[in-house]
Symmetry: C2
Subunit: 402 residues, 2 copies
């Protein structure tokens, strides 16, 4: 079958219901093809304006601003729950980082379950590091299974943590069937799925995720955590901070956890970061998650189709699922020289991909800004670059944050 040509990609853009929303984002260099929104999403004018407004508020009201800001972690959490996560009101909190939130939830979960703490050995590094530490501190076995199935098998009566979308391959797990299949307390890491695929947490136990990838809230914007309502009362954060205390400003003697999701708060939240998350959700609501997820499947579908047509003869293989219902919004291309290919794409082809050891060129597509023509051009530049051996001319070492 003949692969799509560039006019086919342009036709997809012309028919794209999300095409106009790209104008709400800062596209600093129209010739650069940014395929790393799964590491860091793009800046929108909405986020910039919201940060400006919250600075104005700080400047005008000083500490009196806290009368409103105090509600942001739960108010923006509720908004994220409804727009993106398929969770209920009072089940999501914006706070801290994914690492700190996973530490809180994994520790609280371990205190409820006598079994081992389990993940798969391909899970994102910080998840594995945190879980191993929690297991040691709580005197539990820590198991890194070779895959999700084996992890589910090994986690009976324990705590299980899985990434909804794999940070390397982009493979999407079936949340509903896995949740039904395990008796472990299950923590989903949604970092690579929130804002990329439709998420339905309604039957899930626990989740964490970040806001700087497909939620486009900026580098180091605060993360989120989810605890299903009926689990909240039994779970206790190991980090007993004043923002998680009942009647915080009574400044009472002993710690007592707040009634709802606020008990998982710790210290003073980043108000600037919360304003960014809030504004970014406004754009996602305008687009709708259904349309975003649909476009993600089409973007990755075009990329897989082009890669399968153009790249195997150059030694580059698709390392992602071919069924669009089982992947997120990024794909992996495997090649032994993945690192120099990534560097050459950045230095010589004006394409921004990401490298993941040992052999992955990762291409992430932001449905709110990436055009089908960008996918075509990006894959085409990669093809020409490898054909021409330009990846043998690169120099610097990579250093990047997912």
């Amino acid at each position: 079958m003949k692969p799509p040509d560039r006019r086919d990609a342009e036709a997809l853009d012309a028919a794209d219901p999300l095409a106009a929303i790209r104008d709400r984002f800062v596209i600093a260099d129209p010739d650069r093809i940014y395929l790393d929104g799964n590491s860091l999403g793009p800046l929108s004018v909405d986020v910039r304006a919201a940060i400006g407004a919250i600075l104005d508020d700080w400047g005008e009201r000083g500490v009196e601003g806290w009368n409103d800001w105090i509600e942001l972690p739960t108010r923006v959490g509720d908004r994220l729950a409804a727009s993106v996560l398929g969770a209920g009101s009072g089940e999501v909190l914006i706070a801290d980082s994914v690492t700190v939130n996973l530490y809180k939830l994994a520790t609280a979960a371990a205190d409820l379950r006598p079994g081992p703490i389990v993940t798969d050995d391909g899970n994102f590094p910080t998840d594995r590091y945190v879980l191993e530490g929690v297991a040691r501190q709580r005197g539990r076995d820590y198991i890194e299974a070779p895959n999700a199935e084996a992890a589910i098998e090994a986690s009976a009566h324990g705590v299980l943590c899985l990434s909804h979308v794999d940070y390397r391959s982009g493979a999407l797990l079936d949340m509903a069937s896995i949740t039904a299949a395990t008796d472990a307390l299950l923590i989903w890491d949604l970092s690579h799925s929130a804002g990329a695929v439709e998420v339905d947490l309604s039957a899930a136990d626990l989740a964490v995720g970040c806001t700087y990838k497909y939620l486009n809230a900026g580098p180091g914007a605060p993360a989120f955590l989810y605890v299903r309502r009926d689990l909240q009362e039994a779970m206790h954060s190991p980090i007993q901070g004043w923002f998680g205390r009942r009647e915080q400003f009574g400044m009472g003697a002993a710690y007592e956890p707040a009634d709802g999701i606020e008990r998982f708060a710790a210290g003073t939240p980043s108000v600037v970061g919360l304003a960014a998350v809030d504004a970014s959700l406004g754009l996602i609501e305008q687009a709708t998650m259904a349309a975003i997820a649909s476009k993600a499947r089409s973007l990755t579908g075009l990329a897989v189709q082009l890669a399968d047509s153009w790249l195997p003869s150059l030694g580059v293989q698709v390392g992602s699922p071919r069924d669009p219902s089982t992947r997120g919004s990024h794909i992996a291309l495997r090649h032994p020289e993945a690192w120099p290919i990534c560097r050459a794409l950045i230095e010589r082809a004006h394409v921004i991909p990401d490298y993941r050891p040992p052999d992955i060129v990762r291409l992430g597509f932001t449905p709110l800004t990436t055009r089908f023509a960008d996918v075509w051009d990006g894959l085409n530049r990669l093809r020409r670059l490898v054909e021409d051996g330009e990846h043998h001319l690169v120099t610097a070492a990579p250093r990047r944050v997912t």
Copy 2:
């Protein structure tokens, strides 16, 4: 002795070497007297510009920005160490919140010392809550002593946490003599002293503190932590995050802590918050901590003098040390109706103080922006308000963050 009149205060402003730096801050309402910089410092044009610049950087470079941003937690930490904390290079990290940082350091300290975890019962609530939780999780005794001396006494072979400046009275502890007097691992909470008094951590073990009070970096800006260099290798953060791992981007199998202060990092840092801290330190360096601390002593000195002259006959007593070398940059005024007095100051007198249960009107002075005339006017408005019984006319309930 006759109390200073307003012309005396104006003369102090005319001679103030820091007077000009006030123009670098946003003074939204010149008639409002903001005396709560110890809860939330004011917005500067420098911080606003730095946040705008980091957003530009994100917009222009996307994920490539991380090649520089990755160094911010230690680079800005080094700057804070040198300008404000009297600490060395490689001893300070900007990260997370005070609550999370105290949790990390207290847990790591408890793993080194067999004794109890001790603080005083007047320490800031989040410190007491966190320490109690750590003690329970580590199986140690938790002791809240009635004062610092008793806490030092009780902490042999254990972990001690003290606030350098008391969040209510403003009393400043003698760091050098206390550090010499205890064999406990001692964690200083510098939240109410960093940027207000001269700090010399060179002999101290451990410290935490926030950047949104006297460091003026904005609501929820990231906090800092300090670990003396020779203690770092033996201490392990309980939160094993990828930013604290040796060779983070190798994404290796098992967690190994980084060599230096980075081992106390956890998740992705707030780049916007780090830019704010960095810019705010620029203003502090221009002013110099010596000049800031000197002005703080003079501002609180004027306030104490006026309060002692005007207020005892109205039932208001100074609840802060009278020796300027033993207090920070805020003072406590005690009155049984402190809460309605605070509300009336805000609603009827255009003065922003802070209320601390049960009986404290807290007045904080930001040396970079507070004028001696502001101190005089603020105290005078408080005097007139109580004389006229206006505090009996207030309505709403307070809700505020320190």
